[in-house]
Symmetry: none
Subunit: 368 residues, 4 copies
């Protein structure tokens, strides 16, 4: 069998080539990474299709086979992709928002000891908007009854039309504070402009950046200078990387108490308002050490699937969920179709409780 | 809120008009049907575009709004179309796929008694493609060890490029059948063209329609004429309503054993291959009586979030999940990044088992 | 032929039913429209799937055929859809942004007599960002040479990462003003926060609202209180209706000098940065009287198709286009891949000029 | 800017490494190919996953980064795959669909001398579906009158619901052929399954693959074995690269007469049925030598913007457009909202003619 010996010889040559390829690929990655670091001073965009195209053209011109130009293109594209991924990973490694170790986990602690990001599953609930003392108190009582600690207190509503109900403003916050004090609740409220900051911090315990403001640098930086925890809501068309960079805008100013909220992406289907992107939860947990919660109201835009979505939120590994609750959703001044009434809310809470035993403090984001 | 009362009054008037419209539409259908029966004596053509056009013209001449003539044209065209289709449609008019009662639930029973759609949670697993006897048997043994009953047996792979590995074909099915018999497993295999039907039914227990064929009427009708259960995979850009109509194509031919598989939609994010649309599960269960399963491999396109996605699938109310498993994913001939190795598969199974106690036979699709 | 007489009789009955349906449908539309007007006080959302679902259920319960419930569902869904379209049209009819007559056309006139929205095709050009006096002047000279009147003067750049180059700020505006005065150019500059308004109006002739701020009510209202023309850029995930409502936020404060800029939507393809939605141009012209321009730089994100996109912009009926020009794009501090160098810009201008004779003042948005 | 110099230096090093990688990869391929030839004497299986796995393990053991083992696995897997496929691929390795030189341009010539892909702009028109002799002839006469050469002859309609009108089938084709012969027109018709091929080629001059079948390998290969020109319609969710690969499936079987048709992508906006992706035209022309046409009917789904879209199609550099025309769209059995009536069609033709002088044979796809 001389062929067998010949095969063995050839295989040794292959092994040798493999090692040289390994060395070159790693050297290439090192150089590319250095370029990446220089480029990052100008832009967060490392990917440069024009440069890649030029490199491919040059390689094609000198290629004499046996690999075809097409095959080499495919191989080098893989090399480019791997290099790019490495550079992006390095770029992210310096971000404050980025998970550094498997165990790293931001836990946000409120004045009353309530924590978000520990092993508990926090429910944030309340009406879409504060409408009146009576409406707000009815919900607050129900929340307190279910052991909820953090209540929505929305006094400024971003609306598509300038003629839609825009919220009660500061008088709404006064109502919310009064009710919250009575029932021992913490308040979270959407801030729409940096100019509201001073006033708002008098009333609320936690700030909320809405989806439309997720990429508003002035506002992000302004809340980044406060010491209030911030719920940051993903824009419905934001990539996860953009979402993390938005958190970085806040954190880069010193405020590290950020909670990421997944809320559904805009897609083509018409049976829901948005498409809940549940995979975002494990991916965000994997990349970042921040708590992640799931908005089950805006993602679906319909209350009839609230119970399965609540179960799904628990199962996803999220640190909590956000749900809209209204004494009588059919007459709500906004988001009527997605708010739960109080009975539905209690039904949802029962579903959540049934799921909690399956939840343990996990470190699955630590690797695979 | 006097406006709310006024809205209620107006809605009552709408309800009253609806009933009158109903009565008139049905009366119209009866009369048109009688005309149709008379016409059929002279001609095979019931459809009379000239008559329709004349009716539209007459209506336009007397219309005083608020509907524009264009809108009325569109509405009456729908009425004409419905009337025209009445006789041939009536027999099968109610979509077979549609849930008729809260309790309705299709349960698919396999030859060995395995059921899909009952209170169990079925796992369907196996490699992306059959590659060799050894590869296939190694997975089969692991599945049997975990109590899995249904195994992927993919011998024809739809690929983006005509030069990619296209599957082993019938020899692959022979391997799969031999291994399945040894381990007491049922096989499900993707059929790509009606011409493969006869050959394939010799080897497999269940057919699989891939996403690319979800709207291929010839293939849907062909499998609809068999008595094999069919897994129908949602196209990554199909609306849920289109998905249900695709199932109807199969069911309208007599085969009611259809399993709907959610598998992620194409979106803008780049951290996953597709975006798992988990809300689709409760929505499909609400609208249809068919079993629904979740493909956790193609939805994410990455194995490192398989465990949370498996938990999410259980929590969503799905009847099962589908996952790709390969002895050594790194050398797999396709879908390398998303297949679990056997240890990862066992880890996923442990997660699923932990979730099962939270699952009870639910009727939440019955309404809200 | 007694049957022929019978057919004639039955057809008369059909005609009679048609008229009654017409009357009922219009009556229904009137009532629904009144409901819509009451609802609009609370929300811009008229569509109410829960109510529709309830109406369908009631109709199904009393339906005795011959139309099946499925057919009636389909017919009533068409009626609902038409009614909804009517209500939305009425809601929009009151908007300032909405076209009222076929001839209505907003023409914006600048201090030097330059007009946007008349029969000319205006080119707005300039670098992505002001980087230095030299860089800015080199572009300005080229623009002046080509007869361009309006120049980009971006001193504040919204960036994904807080560590990216964020623009030169006010010193950049000083450079731009100095250069503009020398070459007789008008300046347009992005405003990121209402707090910049006072400073910025000292330097620039026209304001620019970026995509990320398209739904920032505070900023929209603030520029709505100025007398500067405003370019409003569509968010990459905004529906056209949302885009028009954003313009309405500005106009409702009194500033009617708004220019709508289409700039591509976020989609799944990876060969372009965004997908230019060219149909948006005729649709926006049809619905609104405002000038519409096309951003050919951000829509594609690559310069190599700038010439065909510029031709397409002219052909679409737009009132102008916006393009990024840089003396040396490869070293630009942002958007390197999409900026044209000066030779490419001149080539693009030649293409535009070749197209202009095909352009005539058209009234095609007046109806169909 | 010393950093720019440093980047240039580092890029030179990258270029150097690229060349070394090229040399090693090709050397590796040569050696592997020799092994393959020896192995083939013992077994038909060249693929040896055990050997691959051993090589990966060895590389992982010596890897010192910066690439992670996982990344190197992925890269070497690509190298293994490319090597494995080398022999069978080499013959046809360069994609047939891909443009090889700036001047390369496929021109398809029909029996009567009509050409697609030359400097003319071809209009393909006709009703959505053949409904009757009278309907079809009325359109044919109008087309002939306008100098149109190629007519839609759709006898099989892919529909969402199995109960919708599915086309007249072969009798429809008989009508179309008869009418086409009378008016000197060429016919193009959608083929839904390979089993229709034999029958259909008797009637039509050109085949049409619908969007739903764009990734149906059996059908693509079947039409690839004919000598009929094929219009290939992009799926509404297909990336451009997937679209080109679909063309490659046809061309790899020998039929190079393929026409690519852009038709709009599924997006989130609701004012159009799909979003016309006009940038696809220059991008497809850049990458491929095949003719590209624009479907202005399905992209918009509404006839009132047909004229601007037709102008845009000409301006984009496309080789033609496709438009639906019906004598009386309001009573059409499908696609009523988007078909033009004959007067509207003539108006559109006038717009197209006005644009043609701006069109010259261009080579802009040759580079930038």
């Amino acid at each position: 069998m001389p062929d067998k010996n010949r095969i063995a010889e050839l295989r040794e040559e292959i092994d040798d080539i493999n090692l040289k390829l390994l060395e070159l690929l790693n050297r290439r990655a090192t150089v590319a990474s250095e370029i990446g670091k220089l480029q990052i001073q100008y832009s967060s965009q490392i990917y440069d299709p024009v440069r890649e195209s030029a490199m491919l053209t040059e390689l094609q011109m000198v290629n004499e086979g046996p690999f075809s130009n097409e095959t080499l293109n495919a191989l080098f594209k893989e090399i480019f992709k791997a290099t790019l991924a490495l550079e992006e990973k390095e770029a992210r490694a310096n971000l404050v928002v980025q998970r550094k170790t498997p165990d790293q986990q931001t836990i946000i602690e409120m004045a009353d000891g309530t924590q978000i990001g520990n092993s508990d599953f926090q429910i944030i609930a309340g009406p879409c908007a504060i409408e009146s003392y009576e409406q707000y108190e009815e919900v607050a009582a129900a929340l307190a009854d279910e052991g909820i600690k953090i209540m929505r207190a929305m006094a400024f509503k971003p609306r598509t039309s300038p003629y839609d109900f825009q919220g009660l403003g500061e008088p709404g916050l006064k109502i919310a504070r009064q009710v919250a004090n009575k029932y021992g609740l913490l308040l979270v409220s959407e801030i729409m402009d940096a100019s509201q900051l001073h006033m708002m911090t008098d009333y609320v315990d936690m700030l909320w950046i809405g989806a439309r403001n997720m990429q508003n640098p002035h506002l992000l930086r302004a809340v980044g200078k406060t010491n209030k925890p911030v719920i940051l809501k993903r824009h419905f068309a934001a990539k996860l990387q953009e979402f993390l960079y938005a958190a970085e805008y806040i954190m880069s100013e010193g405020n590290h108490q950020v909670i990421l909220m997944e809320r559904g992406i805009r897609s083509f289907d018409t049976w829901t308002r948005n498409t809940l992107d549940i995979s975002a939860v494990p991916l965000l947990k994997k990349e970042s050490h921040l708590p992640v919660i799931v908005d089950i109201s805006h993602s679906a835009g319909r209350r009839d699937i609230a119970n399965p979505l609540a179960r799904v939120a628990v199962a996803s590994g999220a640190d909590g969920l956000m749900v809209e609750v209204h004494p009588n959703p059919d007459v709500a001044m906004s988001d009527a179709k997605q708010q739960l009434n109080i009975a539905q809310f209690k039904s949802m809470m029962a579903e959540v409780r049934k799921m909690l035993p399956t939840r343990a403090v996990k470190k699955e984001h630590a690797g695979d």
